[in-house]
Each structure stands twice: as C-alpha cells, then as structure tokens.
Amino acid sequence: MTTTQAPARRQYPWPIEFYRSAVGKKWVMGVTGIVLIGYLIFHTIGNLKIYLGAEEIDSYGEALRDLGGHLVPRTSLLWLMRGGLLVCAVLHIHSAATLTATNWKARSGRYHVRDYAVASYASRSMRATGVIVVFFLLFHLADLTWGVTPAASDVYARGAIYANMIASFERIPVAILYVIANLSLAPHLYHGTWSLFQSLGWNHPRFNQWRRYAAWAVTGFVVIGNLSVPIAVQLGYFD
C-alpha cells in the first residue's frame, strides 16, 4: 500500500528537539551569552587589579589556581570553570554558525537598494565582531596564558601576571591589537547584552528601557576597563 504521508522524522530527546529549533538556539545563545558576559565582567575586575600593584594581581592569579583551598585538588575548580566556559563558548559559536547558515538560506538575492531604518552597526556586525573576538582570544591565550612566543613576550614567566602583562603591552603592535580587539568586542557585547533579553523572552514595560542601559553599562565597564591597561602601559604609567 502506498501512502502520501512523509515518513515521520525521528524524535530526539526534548533538549535536542529544542536545540534543533532556531528559537531554541537563540535561547541557548542567550544563556551562554550570560555566562560569557559574567566571565568578562570578572575578568575585567581581575585585570584592573594591575593598578593595585604586582603583589595584588599575582596573588589574585594564585587565588584562582588555589580556589577551594585544601578541600579540593589544586586548580581543579579553576579547570571546572574553564570547562564550563569552553562548553558555553562552543555552544554559542555552534548556534551562531548554524543560525547564520539558516538565515543565508532564507534569503533570495539582495535588494538593489536597501535603506535600513533602525538596524544598528552593532546588530549587523555581530558575525564579524564574533569572529574577530575568537581569533583575538586565541592570540590572547597564547600571549598571557600559554606563553607561546611570538604571541607572548620573550620574558614571559608562568604566574608572573604583572610582569607578563606589562612586557606584552609594551610592544606597540600588541597594544594596538588589544585596542582593536576590545573595540570589536564593544558592539558585540552591546547588542548581545540587549538582545539576550529578547531571546530569553525577558520583556516587561517596567524594565524594557533598562535593558539598553544595562547593555551600555556592561559594555562600558568591560571595554573601558580592558582598554585602560594597554593604554596605561604605553603611556608609561607603570614605569
């Protein structure tokens, strides 16, 4: 007997079914975005400790490695957090990539003339700024975490955070790279922070305008805080 009915698509467990939908992927991007934004804020607070001196920031790094004290093996909690961040980053990038493919497929030719009314520079450059941030991240890890030359400076020493940061940022091209990377991060962070409220369905007339303010505040703090360090090094603040 023939049938005109399409064969039933295999049903996956519900989290996978949810992730298969574009709305689900945007939800995942929002949730992973919150984790990554939270990380960025703490990372910036850590960076700013450089202004308190070598001992302060170096012992901050040591405290991270020693998280949990004698209760857990050394660096285990740090690796747990790194693992969580890596999972979030991978999910964030995977959903972005697959959604981009979906969206490009949904298009049919470009308009000969297109005059955008409200789409901002930030919202339209998310893909480009995201890719820049990933490449910068690899350089940044090689520079100050792994200590791989030529990304890292010649005097790199594991654990000597204060000395490593200053030695790295004293190289003019590297300082410029950090400035460019942070300026690319700014629109990504701004649109991402605002947009995640929509994607997660957090919308209420009472706080809707605060979503924009929150996005400005997060972006301003992270970007200005991070930019200040290479600029201060170049201006000779730490000499």
């Binding site: 939908s21 939800w27 497929k105 298009r107 049919s108 409200v118 789409a119 997660l200």
Partner: protein, 253 residues
C-alpha cells in the same frame, strides 16, 4: 510631478528579472503610490506594453495585500503606513524611485512586484485559530477580559499579514508576523486551551520557510501597523514553556 521609476520586471517565478526604467510624467501629488502605478500601467497598456504587476486590494491600509520595496524601504518607509496609503507628495519632483518586490526565499516572486506569501497561510493553518462550540454566537461579554489584556491583544491583532517584516529583516525572519498572530490569541482567555500547542506548531512551521530573529528591530520599523517587537519576546517565552509543557502533556496521554 515628473518621476523616474526603476522597476523590477520579472516575467514569471523561475524567469530572470531585471530593472526597467519608466518615466512617470504629470503625476498628481495627491495620488497614492499605487494610483501612480495605475497611471503608469494605463500608459504602458496604451503603448501596447505589458503593465507592471503588483498586488493590491482594499487600498485603505487594512487588507495587507499591497507591499513593495520603495527606495530600499518596505512600504516606502513612512511610519505606520502601507504602500497604498503612501502619497506622492512625500516624494520630490524629478526623483528617481527604485521599486522592488519583497525578497525572501519564503516569498518567491510570482511576477514583477507580486510575491507568493502563502507561507504565511501555512503558519496560520498550524495554529492561528481557537476551538469554539458550534451553534449560535456566544454572548460577547460572557468571558471577562481585563482592559489592558484586550488592548494588548488588539495591538497584536492589528497585523494585516503584508509581509513587510520579512522583507525588512536582514535574515528574512517572520518572527514579528508569527509573534503577532500567536500573541493575539495567546493573550486572551479564549486562546488558552491551545496556547502551547499553538506556539510550538506555528514557530516550527515558520522555521520551515524563514530565517531566525537576531533582534535588529527592522521589522518593527517597517510594520504598517507599528507592531512592537515586544511580542517577539512573548513568543520566545511561550515557545520555551511550550517545549516543556507539551512534553508533560504527551507523558500524561
């Protein structure tokens, strides 16, 4: 006023298209954009040429049939206005006006400026209805609806399904249309029984045809009924809940 039109001409769905230039002379500035096209078409017909095909019906901004990309803006870019309500006085004498159809994979061009928007019908079929008992019309005030809720539902129900949101979206997402259609039923007590089945079915159908929302906000700016993207947040919230709740219902069945 005298105008130059650069119009997208395409003989059929799978035929190649190209821009053609037309002079539109002595157009009244009180004419609507569609009336201007009528005059141009009249002259083309008299010259023995094929008139420009475009969709239109009520011409008073409530049916959602018309919709053209005018100078890179859906419906010409005047806030809260459909193409039929856009008047030529908004243009200057001697202007060059570029006229294109909506462009989206979900809206294939049928001819010239006319596109096939039946993907919207598929979305509505998936859940854009409520179940009611047959028989005589029920008493209208039997189910009380709070004023604020009825106002909000009405804002969503203002959607005329013209497709400007899809045309405006850089991702060709139909989120604003679907969100409006879902919200106007999901907000009201009459829409509750099918609420979560509705949102899941309508979103899943939408995603078969259109892209995904990245919160640019272009749809809201293009909408001739100025429908807010707040409804998209509502859609997202209900969809996430639906994935959980529908599953619970399945397990009880």
């Amino acid at each position: 006023m005298d105008l130059t039109l650069r119009v997208w001409r395409q003989a059929g769905p799978d035929r190649p298209g190209a821009f053609e230039e037309y002079r539109a002379r002595e157009i009244s500035e009180d004419a609507s954009f569609l009336e201007m096209l009528d005059v141009v078409n009249e002259r083309l017909t008299l010259e023995g040429k094929e008139p420009i095909t475009f969709d239109h019906d009520c011409r008073e901004g409530i049916c959602g049939t018309c919709g053209i990309m005018i100078n890179g803006k859906p419906h010409g870019g005047q806030k809260g206005t459909a193409t039929c309500q856009l008047h030529m006085r908004k243009f200057g004498n001697g202007d060059v006006i570029v006229v294109e159809p909506w462009r989206a994979a979900g809206f294939p061009v049928l001819k010239d400026l006319m596109v096939n928007r039946s993907a919207f019908d598929r979305i509505i079929e998936a859940g854009g209805y409520i179940g009611v008992d047959v028989g005589s019309a029920p008493e209208a005030n039997l189910i009380p609806v709070p004023k604020a809720v009825s106002e909000l539902a009405m804002d969503a129900a203002a959607c005329i399904g013209c497709g400007a949101c899809v045309a405006a979206c850089p991702n060709n997402a139909a989120q604003l249309f679907t969100a409006a259609k879902v919200a106007h039923l999901n907000l009201l007590p009459q829409g509750q029984p099918e609420r979560f089945a509705r949102v899941e079915a309508m979103v899943d159908t939408m995603e078969r045809f259109f892209g995904s929302c990245t919160n640019h906000g272009e749809c809201e700016a293009a909408c001739p009924k100025s429908i807010s993207i707040d409804f998209i947040a509502l859609l997202n919230k209900d969809y996430v809940r639906a994935k959980r709740i529908n599953r619970a219902m399945v397990s009880r069945a």
